[in-house]
Symmetry: C2
Amino acid sequence: MATSTQNPVRFGIIGCADIARKLCRAINLAPNAVLSAVASRSLEKAVSFAKANNFSTEAKIYGSYEGLIEDPTIDAIYLPLPTSLHVKWALKVAQNKKHLLMEKPVAMNVQEFDEIVKACEENGVQLMDGTMWVHHPRTAKMKEFLGDAERFGQLRRIHTCFSFAVDPDFLKNDIRVKPDLDGLGSLGDAGWYGIRAILWAADYELPKTVTALPGPVHNEAGVILSCGASLYWEDGKVATFHCSFLENLTMDITAIGTKGTLHVHDFVIPFQENEASFSAGTKCFFNDLVTAWTPLPSEHTVTADLPQEVCMVREFSRLVGDIKNGTKLERKWPIISRKTQIILDAVRASIEKDFTPVTVQW
Amino acid sequence: MATSTQNPVRFGIIGCADIARKLCRAINLAPNAVLSAVASRSLEKAVSFAKANNFSTEAKIYGSYEGLIEDPTIDAIYLPLPTSLHVKWALKVAQNKKHLLMEKPVAMNVQEFDEIVKACEENGVQLMDGTMWVHHPRTAKMKEFLGDAERFGQLRRIHTCFSFAVDPDFLKNDIRVKPDLDGLGSLGDAGWYGIRAILWAADYELPKTVTALPGPVHNEAGVILSCGASLYWEDGKVATFHCSFLENLTMDITAIGTKGTLHVHDFVIPFQENEASFSAGTKCFFNDLVTAWTPLPSEHTVTADLPQEVCMVREFSRLVGDIKNGTKLERKWPIISRKTQIILDAVRASIEKDFTPVTVQW
């Protein structure tokens, strides 16, 4: 029997991060999931979080992570802890046979990532990272365009950017600027999305090399606040990305093929929740006197019946439901996450190696 | 007395290139210019070109470039010859005291460029390159936004792209794929615009280094069909560009500041001739639950009373009229052209030096 409103996946949340508020709402809105527990190292904090985030009166509130992880009534854990704590807690979650929805970046590096995947596979639990935008219905529509040999042709260039300008308090105190917490900084946070978008556009084919762009900015503790890289595939595809905490909010994917061009300016978080657009140009050229375009690119709008994070929770819960009924783990999601993590590692390695190309290997 | 409809700048055109058709129309539409002569190595071709491009019955038709260059009634020459011929003919034009509107790229390299500038300065004639988009009224509006400390802040990232997909005949026969004609290929053609746009956004401050991106495509004769580079300034600004003959028509500038973001998708040739738009985001951030943007970027539309190439001819003719009346040469335009040419040279040098950074010097 698949999960449904009658048999929903029972979610527990470990840690009361800001981003967890969004996931609570998503779990409450997903038809096949239920918000069943929350844990904080402070019981008081957990109680207050549960109150603020529409937990039902039956939900369990824990003053320790272990309590929740060992609770046999919980099916799945959403883990929004700082990245450096992921491997420790993800292993405990997996060992307690709970499926795992992880905030990104999944790990500090591929070695840690592989420990997490190994634990999930050995314990038969599903792993998915919390990259929401890939679950938006717009993403499928954009992919249709990119996959259309007639309208888009062969992919040759990708550029992505995700930046947002943080305030002085963030630069001093946020976990994303602390080497011992979200130690991958802007690369792990904003960069994860831009790298994922490049891999998504390239059908998740890994590039041959990654070369960091000049001018990364680190804070005094050595955490990346801003950086970029170019990616190169043997078939000639080239991608560039930029990620930063230091510039105005920008969220671009530009994908250019032999016959078509895709533009989207709000790929991570759509401008508005109920609908999202992208622009698609096909076989555009100039008029005879080269004074205008013909044809013009066209705008496509996709209605979102559910917010993208609800689509993510619904998809994750569907997989968990299937697994309960004997289906195998869905390996697609850990594979995509691992490829993203591989590129993160390569960007860091290239920065350390003075911006020389780093060969990418699975 | 300044130029006017009573006293217009008398233009001669050397060579019957396709692009010259557009300039004929522009000269005819400009209030302070008149289409007075055309020269081709074939008189028949010149006659037929003049007929097809609305030359008046008084216009002179020459079967040799020298004839036109030596005509004392001509004030200014538009030179759309292949790049490799620029230095030879530009020098003759300048030596005959004719002002010079040059198709881009101005020269094959900075050394040639400097010969042209020297000849123009020695002979008191104005030099301007034929980059039309910088004369569009939208460009001034976009620059206003980039220069606004409150709305845009400090410029930190620029990405530009200009690609168009040519047909097999172009790849075999166009002058832009011939090493002895427009030997700079896609870099000199499309790349000129993308590099100019980066310099324009950076207030024409030269970067410290230029590093070619991996994956340039050359044809069998060694001409660049597709390439890209990153530019790095000492203050931390970083730019990337891509130019190509091999992908669908795409014309992007993305400029990101600490407080604002500019997007334009038709910067070289606006989608339509009578108006042009750009998007400007200012202090964009997320709503509390990070499910939407606030505020949204806004779209700005600028009406073009005259096509951008007419604005260019009008500005060039205004300078020529001023010079006739004793004003000095306007050095701004040759300086901007030279900086563009310097970056072209640096991209080629970096490709030759295995994609290592090339230091940029004025």
